[in-house]
Amino acid sequence: MAKFITIGERIHCISPVIREAMNTKTPEPILKRAKEQLDAGASYLDVNIGPAENNGPELMQWAVKLIQENFDNVPLALDTANRSAIEAGIQVYNRAKGKPIVNSADAGDRIENIDLAAANDAIAIALCSREGVPGSVEERQGFCMELLERGLSLGMDSDDLWFDPLFLVIKGMQDKQKEVLETIAWFAEQGFKSTGGLSNVSNGMPKHIRPIMDSIMVSMAIQAGLTSAIVNPCDTRLMEAVKSADIINNETLYADSYLEI
């Protein structure tokens, strides 16, 4: 085991401020969000540039260099459907603080992102689904093995595949939540690393409910064996849960100020 890894999700082109900053190559809004997330304790930052069909490679390189040069080579997850943009980003990526993460591969159209990660000595987030929502724990396990075999056959270390059980929205798929936790427990039994878009679970809930739901979900998922999650690190309640779980799991030594560091 190791300390729980948080991947900050707030540099995302779905946000109008970030989209505008990416369109106009304005560093400030991106740097501001990077700093907020790192101050809040994020280990990795996700950089989502959207589909970026026209200028993906160039945009990703700009964003990677901008963030890493300003924040001591913070490790990044490169997040786009544009494969050449991920590759371009890795070319300028500094590995001093950790390998780049390819976000993401799945067992369907995006399986070649495993090849991309293998060819570039990167970590791949491996989403255990093909099209739509997997029907059962067993189906997720099947996709997991498919992704694992592909990675291993290309020379990847299994530690560089972070399996994503596919967190699902509670409002609408409440009956599927236990399956997600069971899948995580199965990953942990195999010794696999795992991650996922945790805040999916509280989608559509009132703003004041989301931190409560997310922090309880992350606690339950960590107990099941989750090793990482893509989260909003500026959610204080969630980060309190993550840091407290690291204490209880003896992954970090307790001190009265543990929430501040």
Binding site: A2, K3, E251, T252, L253, Y254, A255, D256, S257, E260, I261
Partner: protein, 315 residues
């Protein structure tokens, strides 16, 4: 099947910290392997030994100590003599007389004595200042002494829970000296004090830990397990709030236990008091070095020479 020696993954490194200036400057820490594990990797800086000198004359000291310091007539002269002891890497000047329950020497007088001693010592050996054990007095004392020893790069032992704000602000920030954070064999407080001192603006690279000690045989296993856990957090969990080198005062513990103070006349079967005192000091020092201390403070010149020989043989 051939035997392949497992090579442990190199851990995160302990901070490297320098005290003193010029020829006498020494470096503590810097290693990323367990104590004396030279087969796992380089020990960047061998553990260092400081020799303790009190600002009070050695009235109750064993003959060997009295003989060593014979002919010295001032604190400055004793400090210079101490620096010449075989195996001593630095000198610890302890303001025992500043204790308000004792002679209560004023902080201004202590600063004068410290300055005189530091000037006499020059750059030949690094200097460490040890307080009176009274937290309030030490805060005042360290402030004056730190001001008198600017540019000497001195380590002050210690800032405690009761006085860390004052000590960190004066010693660490105003005078840019090195600060030891002292906790009494309490692993969580050891981390907490480092965090608090750092939050005041003192860089982690300027902090040393004094996690407390005990004489061997006197609750000593807690000292050892605390050190083990700190080194594990620092190296294996890359906990930057625990990567400070550890300084452990030994002599102030071991020379106060019955094995070291009972006269031979009271305990004839125990043999020479002086030999027992040296044994207690050496055994305790070697044990904390084997558990991760980067520096120790010893009193008897024979102990200094013995432990120094051991370090040289192993690193």
């Amino acid at each position: 099947m051939p035997f392949n020696k497992p090579v442990p993954k190199a851990g995160a490194a302990i901070n490297e910290l320098e005290i003193g200036v010029g020829a006498g400057a020494i470096k503590l820490g810097g290693e990323n392997v367990l104590p004396f594990y030279v087969f796992d990797g380089e020990i960047k800086n061998a553990p260092k030994i400081g020799i303790e000198v009190s600002d009070l004359p050695f009235e109750d000291a064993p003959d060997g100590i009295k003989a060593f310091y014979a002919g010295t007539n001032s604190v400055a002269e004793r400090v210079v003599k101490a620096a010449s002891a075989e195996g001593a890497d630095f000198v610890c000047l302890r303001f025992e007389s500043a204790d308000p329950n004792g002679a209560d020497t004023s902080e201004d007088e202590c600063a004068r004595i410290a300055k005189e001693a530091a000037d006499a010592l020059g750059d030949s050996k690094a200097l460490v200042i040890i307080g009176s054990k009274n937290a309030d007095k030490d805060a005042k004392l360290f402030d004056k002494v730190a001001a008198a020893l600017t540019d000497k790069n001195v380590l002050f032992v210690s800032a405690k829970e009761e006085n860390y704000k004052t000590v960190a602000a004066s010693v660490g920030l105003a005078y840019n000296q090195k600060v030891a954070a002292e906790s009494a064999v309490d692993i969580n407080l050891a981390k907490q004090l480092n965090v608090l001192i750092n939050q005041m603006g003192v860089q982690n690279q300027n902090i040393v830990m004094n996690i407390g000690s005990a004489s061997a045989g006197y609750g000593f296993e807690y000292v050892i397990s605390t050190m083990d856990r700190i080194k594990s957090a620092a190296m294996n969990q890359n906990d930057t709030t625990l990567q400070m080198p550890i300084f452990t005062p030994i002599s102030t513990e071991t020379w106060g236990v019955k094995e070291s103070i009972s006269e031979e006349s009271e305990m004839p079967t125990w043999g020479s008091r002086e030999a027992r005192g040296i044994d207690m000091e050496v055994m305790t020092a070697v044990s904390v070095l084997a558990s991760g201390s980067n520096a120790v403070m010893l009193r008897h010149p024979t102990s200094v020479a013995t432990v120094s020989a051991l370090i040289k043989a192993l690193v």
